[in-house]
Symmetry: C2
Subunit: 253 residues, 2 copies
């Protein structure tokens, strides 16, 4: 039997990036899509505790079955795994996101929220993002790298409590140099709440900002992407800063 692959994203079920990923995955296995019915960007690993959730069947296309859910990407993964997968998935994917999810800023990412949810549930999981926000962004040049990474993960189990975060430079296929395993760059968004006044004179704030990467390492995702490589970062949902445990023992009582 072909492997079953569950796919979510945070741009919403209508996204071209999601459809591109489903097409690639359908060459390797049967696909169930469970994706938000709305734009869920920036929702991190949030879950919906304060209202009920609903699921809308969106039909079949070849070996791809699609559902839309009014929850977050993490909700979608829980929903898909528990109620809508006909058998245990071999893999959970998220994306392809419009725009990068690189560096330590992925804590905000709904795309990676779906991945972390799958990882917490013991499933191999990979998030994919393309470094372009353009509506006509070209997802084709990254397709062979995506297929390669999916096949590798199906063939060689990931280490325990480890998922993958994959970013793809927005370049023609012949300019993508290869695939690099990296760590997250230490970077941040600065000046991100812009104060504005509406036509009635009321003050409001809008999320904006500029990306600042002061990390000079050549082993980071930011560096690999700047050199034309697809970046692959192994991530963990365990936020413990193990090296700091000994450094803060003075707090004990």
């Amino acid at each position: 039997m072909k492997p079953l692959i569950l796919i979510t994203n945070d741009d919403g079920v209508q996204s071209r990036g999601l459809q591109s990923l489903a097409q690639i995955a359908s060459k390797v296995g049967d696909v169930v899509i469970m994706a938000p019915d709305h734009n869920a960007s920036g929702l991190s690993t949030s879950i919906t505790c304060t209202r009920p959730l609903h699921v809308m069947p969106m039909g079949h296309q070849g070996s791809i079955t699609t559902y839309a859910c009014d929850g977050t990407p993490a909700d979608c993964v829980k929903m898909g795994l528990e109620h809508f997968c006909p058998r245990r998935p071999s893999l959970v994917l998220s994306g392809i996101n419009f725009g990068s999810n690189s560096s330590i800023n992925i804590v905000y990412s709904g795309t990676m929220g779906g991945v972390i949810e799958a990882c917490l549930n013991g499933f191999p999981a990979i998030g994919f993002s393309l470094l372009s926000h353009k509506p006509d962004a070209d997802f084709k040049p990254g397709a062979s790298a995506i297929k390669h990474i999916i096949q590798q993960v199906l063939q060689h189990p990931l280490p325990d409590l480890t998922a993958l975060n994959v970013n793809i430079p927005h370049l023609p296929a012949e300019q993508i140099k290869g695939i690099k395993i990296c760590r997250q760059a230490k970077a941040a968004w600065r000046d991100s709440m812009e104060k504005r006044t509406d036509e009635q004179g009321n003050v409001y704030f809008a999320m904006t900002g500029r990306f600042e990467c002061l990390d000079q390492g050549t082993d980071t995702d930011e560096y690999a992407l700047s050199q034309g490589y697809v970046s692959v970062v192994p991530i963990s949902p365990d936020l413990t800063h193990h090296h700091s445990i000994e450094l803060i023992k003075h707090i004990e009582q």
Copy 2:
């Protein structure tokens, strides 16, 4: 000049847990509260990208100045740091949350989302949670541990890119045995989307589930809490699973 302490939470600006934390912090410094105007539980490190945000001044009480914001805990921290703190805060706090934020499940926590946001911005940050969801939960027995931890962090800078996650057992003061530095337990919520039918026969799903901790370690937050200790876990916003980097090199091309 007294240190300035910025406080947020995810239970909302009206929460008794927030007020308790502000009272403790006000004995050490001047306090600015910027907290959600609603229950923002489960919102993780999500940020609001798709609509404008607003801030409502809620008045002064002694050295405590309070604002409410219609955003997430991470939004509140960005907002407070950029626009509403009269000087650079020495510390950012989040909580006191009603209910635990322990083990690797803190990826869902809005309380810890505020902490991670502060940490990404280079500020020392601590999240506090009490192991009780009861409306009349008693925040007093944990007060001396909270004050001790705040003072320790003000006196001894935390390691780079490290924040603290503190959980407090809901016990009488004399039964709290002390403070332990821990790692996160590996645990998860199981069976979390319950399928239900409403009075019109429509299917919906509700977040539920049971907490399952199979981690037998005695160095975890779950173990320390079970033994009557306040648990302190150093956490990092860097999700890189550094030990896995060498283990997945076969994916490179």
